[in-house]
């Protein structure tokens, strides 16, 4: 479904974010993308929905080279991808309800369908009470969940989530991961970039590790955490490495 061939990304200011990325995500897979801050996770995801174009190499989605899409085709690509942004990207002048509804309006969904789907998905992320609040009136975690609701509301074939639990407490984080697993089980391909190693470690999914713009590991199954959970453990590891 999604393939990266020798993809490099260098930003105009000279920052090299990705180097020679080769990756194949099959339909129905659940992939964790992990790696230290600044490793290039967000950049990789941005290449998928064409926020950025690769400097070299190709990104193929459903058999089409994303860089070669004509401008008018781009919206239709994006409608097939649900995106949870690291910086939320909520529309500040729209309420929670309207923000989620927007993803449906865009595809021309009927008003009745919108009125049915939106409250349903807001209930899934636990925000039915904040339906008519504006983003500025929400806590960080609530905003993040609005972003998640918006990404899944139109059942996209591919879900791309960038750090979807960074502002959530462990309980809510697990609920969201559960939600992703259920969506995945229903057939949606899911790619999650995250720093939550504890969850990654416990969830038994494919894990792609990105470091300094390169893929350094691509495994299925439980992975060892890069630290042992405390300051002492981390220091040990540091002197050891």
């Amino acid at each position: 479904m999604l393939r990266f061939y020798g993809v490099c990304k260098e930003y105009p200011n000279g920052a090299k974010a990705l180097e020679d990325i080769n990756l194949h995500v099959r339909k129905g897979e659940f992939v964790f993308l992990v790696g230290p801050t600044g490793a290039g996770k967000t950049t990789l995801l941005k290449l998928i929905f064409r926020e950025e174009l690769p400097t070299r190499g190709q990104v193929i989605f459903n058999g089409r080279n994303i860089a070669r899409l004509r401008p008018r085709e781009v919206p239709y690509l994006r409608r097939r991808i649900g995106i949870v942004f690291q910086d939320f990207r909520l529309l500040p002048t729209k309420t929670v309800y309207e923000n989620v509804a927007f993803a449906l309006e865009v595809t021309g969904t009927s008003g009745r369908e919108i009125r049915r789907r939106v409250p349903e998905v807001l209930r899934l992320v636990g925000l039915e009470e904040k339906m008519h609040a504006f983003p500025a009136q929400l806590s960080g975690g609530e905003q993040q969940r609005v972003g998640i609701a918006r990404a899944i509301v139109n059942n996209p074939p591919l879900l791309v989530a960038d750090e979807p639990t960074g502002n959530l407490d462990p309980n809510t984080s697990w609920e969201i991961m559960d939600l992703f697993c259920r969506i995945n089980a229903a057939g949606t391909t899911v790619i999650v970039a995250t720093h939550a190693w504890d969850m990654v470690g416990a969830m038994d999914k494919r894990v792609v590790v990105l470091e300094g713009g390169r893929i350094t590991r691509d495994d299925y199954g439980r992975v060892a955490l890069p630290h042992t959970g405390g300051p002492a453990g981390r220091r040990q590891q540091e002197t050891g490495g």
Partner: protein, 293 residues
């Protein structure tokens, strides 16, 4: 249908929620178009005044003595046929003397006793449509048989022609200028208001909105704000001009003013159309650079 409903709801919501931006845009449209409309009216009136002044210039064609009625008739017809001539009036020597007496006022005694042996000639008094046709008419008339002499206020007419031509040109130029300024000011304001929502536009695009889906509410919004502003401007021009005309005709009934006739309402209509157009075009143009994401 559904989309249209969405577009209108979005546009209205956006106007309401960005009330400050909306007010600024409407205010700018109103102020710019009010100035434009009023200046246009001033220019129209100055032109009307120039027309009036020009049409009051006369050519006096003095005739040889002893022409027959038939000759006079022929001459009058030929003069009337000259290009630009709109009125030909016959002034007999008797009428001429009466007029001269009137003009001399307290010195009218000078002309006493001339009635019997009137030395003044018969004359035609000719009006042309425009002042710059006077010289040509005078020249043509001078070569007609039976014409003794042709006179008109040479210096004055030339001046008048120069002034009115200049006034017309200046009026046209300043209208073009003020019009361009109004368009610039309005579109700048609308750009600024779109600019402040740059991020929103980007987000919409990332959610899979087509360009037209993003653009349409902005287009509608621009048109509504433009319409609101220009309608307000038209109302103000209407009311203001009525007040001005009232006080002008009160103080100076002799001055011809452009009334609230068809041309006036055409002007108001154009103002409104301009506001609508600039609002729409301003939104479309300014949103373009943010759509490429």
């Amino acid at each position: 249908m559904r989309a249209l409903k969405y577009y209108f709801r979005e546009a209205l919501l956006s106007i309401a929620r960005n009330s400050w931006l909306s007010l600024a845009a409407v205010g700018t449209v109103t102020v710019s178009l009010f100035i434009l409309g009023f200046s246009l009216l001033v220019v129209m009136n100055v032109n009307r005044l120039a027309d009036y002044l020009e049409s009051s210039v006369e050519v006096s064609i003095f005739l040889k003595d002893g022409l027959t009625g038939q000759q006079l008739q022929d001459l009058q017809n030929r003069i009337r046929a000259l290009p630009g001539v709109v009125e030909v009036q016959f002034i007999s020597k008797k009428q001429a003397l009466e007029e001269m007496k009137k003009n001399l006022g307290p010195n009218r005694g000078l002309l006493e006793g001339l009635e019997e042996d009137n030395p003044l000639p018969d004359a035609f008094r000719v009006r042309t449509q425009r002042a710059d046709q006077v010289a040509a008419v005078a020249k043509e008339a001078a070569s007609l048989p039976g014409v003794e002499d042709v006179r008109y206020g040479q210096g004055v007419v030339e001046r008048l022609v120069a002034v009115t031509r200049w006034v017309r040109l200046a009026g046209l130029a300043s209208m073009a200028l003020i019009g361009a300024a109004a368009v610039f000011l309005i579109s700048t304001t609308i750009r600024l208001s779109v600019f402040s929502r740059q991020r929103e536009i980007g987000i919409m695009k990332y959610l899979g909105a087509t360009n037209w889906f993003v653009r349409f509410p902005f287009l509608l919004e621009g048109m509504m704000l433009g319409l609101a502003g220009s309608a307000l401007a038209a109302l103000l021009v209407h009311a203001g001009y009525a007040a001005v005309v009232r006080s002008v005709t009160g103080a100076m009934p002799f001055i011809p003013v452009v009334g609230q006739d068809q041309a006036f309402f055409a002007l108001l209509g154009s103002l409104v159309a301009l506001g609508l157009l600039v609002g729409a075009a301003g939104s479309l143009i300014s949103i373009r650079r943010f759509l490429n994401v």
